[in-house]
Amino acid sequence: METLELLRANLLSPAVLAFALGMVATLVRSDLRIPEALYTSLSIYLLLAIGLKGGAALAATPWSELWKPALATLALGVSTPLLSYAVLRRLGRMDVVNAAALAAHYGSVSAVTFIAANTLMQSLRQSVEGYLPTLVAILEVPAIVIALLIARRNLKGGPMGEAIREILTGRSVLLLVGGSLIGFLSGPEGLKKVAAAFVDPFQGVLVLFLLELGMVAAKRLRDLRTTGAFLIGFGLGMPVVQGALGVWLGSLAGMSVGGATVLGAMAASASYIAAPAAVRIALPQANPSYYLTASLGITFPFNLTLGIPLYFAFSRFLHGGM
């Protein structure tokens, strides 16, 4: 499949189109509102479902196959926040607090970008490793901790211990890890029992969720004027760099074309559930306009539309394909 054709397939998938519809709804000031309870319910569902599926797959994965990709993920979790921080301080001349806050977001991972990457691989009939959700759990936490430590070294911030407890017990880690354990312990047999709720309708539920995300992202775009050109460049350039890094490390660790693509998308993505919550507590002085607009208004739509196909093309290239 040509790269252009690939792009077309991605842009015309129900999920991406629903995201666009959400943006349109906000731009034309529609009275469409996704109830907050629905939004929260969908995010609980998606996280738990990823966990369940991943855990059941993990039960069938030998440790020998897992440790290299896990290490690669950890390396990403440590290097990407440092990289982001350096770029923001040196090139962007940003203050310590806001640079650290952004680094926490870009080092961590967005669960929805992860899902979108999986979905594209699936519709391209590219098989991916079953243990990938475990990698999401591994990637989510370290970056945030590292970024907060950087800020801490440079100034007195909010309560650090509380922020770390918040990340570890936060709903996204809890549901991912908890769901994985449930999937692992009850096994493929257990997964089969709940598949009609957690596996089959998954992609459809994602459509509803992206409708809402589109509405939120469009609201963020209104802040673009105040955040400046550098942040736009950062929000578009950083994912490409980190995505390439992720694909490359994943390939080194022996992952498949599809698996390395998904790892690349994970590295390229910026967190907008776990990170904002932790940053708001530990670095209350940081300006949310910066980190929310960049991660949700710029990087997420970029990855969803162009980024993931790009990482796939790169992964195919690294694996010797075209």
Partner: protein
């Protein structure tokens, strides 16, 4: 019906502060509180909580001294960095001892 005057302190704050605020107003002497979900806009423009699920509106009926302490605490710890506002008014209650 013997009514007694008490102070009603209303705090509007980002939702994720709920647990912490409740702990602190109890420590400062509040005997109870009521919370409703809220949303709003103020001088601070966009906030994390917009994405994280809105504000809370916390009400607590207390003695004048406790009201004073709560406001002073908020002004010191929260007003500088968080999207928090608070106001006080006098209300009349039955069974005034319930609140002190």
């Amino acid at each position: 019906m013997a009514l007694v005057a008490r102070k009603l302190v209303t705090i509007i704050a980002e939702g994720f502060l709920e647990e912490r605020l409740v702990r602190e107003i109890k420590r400062l002497g509040a005997k109870g509180y009521t919370i409703t979900e809220a949303r709003g806009e103020g001088s601070r423009g966009v906030r994390a909580s917009e994405w994280e699920g809105g504000n809370i509106r916390l009400e607590t009926i207390v003695s004048p001294e406790v009201a004073e302490k709560i406001l002073a605490h908020l002004a010191e710890i929260y007003f500088p960095n968080y999207a928090v506002i608070a106001y006080v008014e006098t209300v009349e209650v039955v069974r005034g001892d319930k609140y002190t």
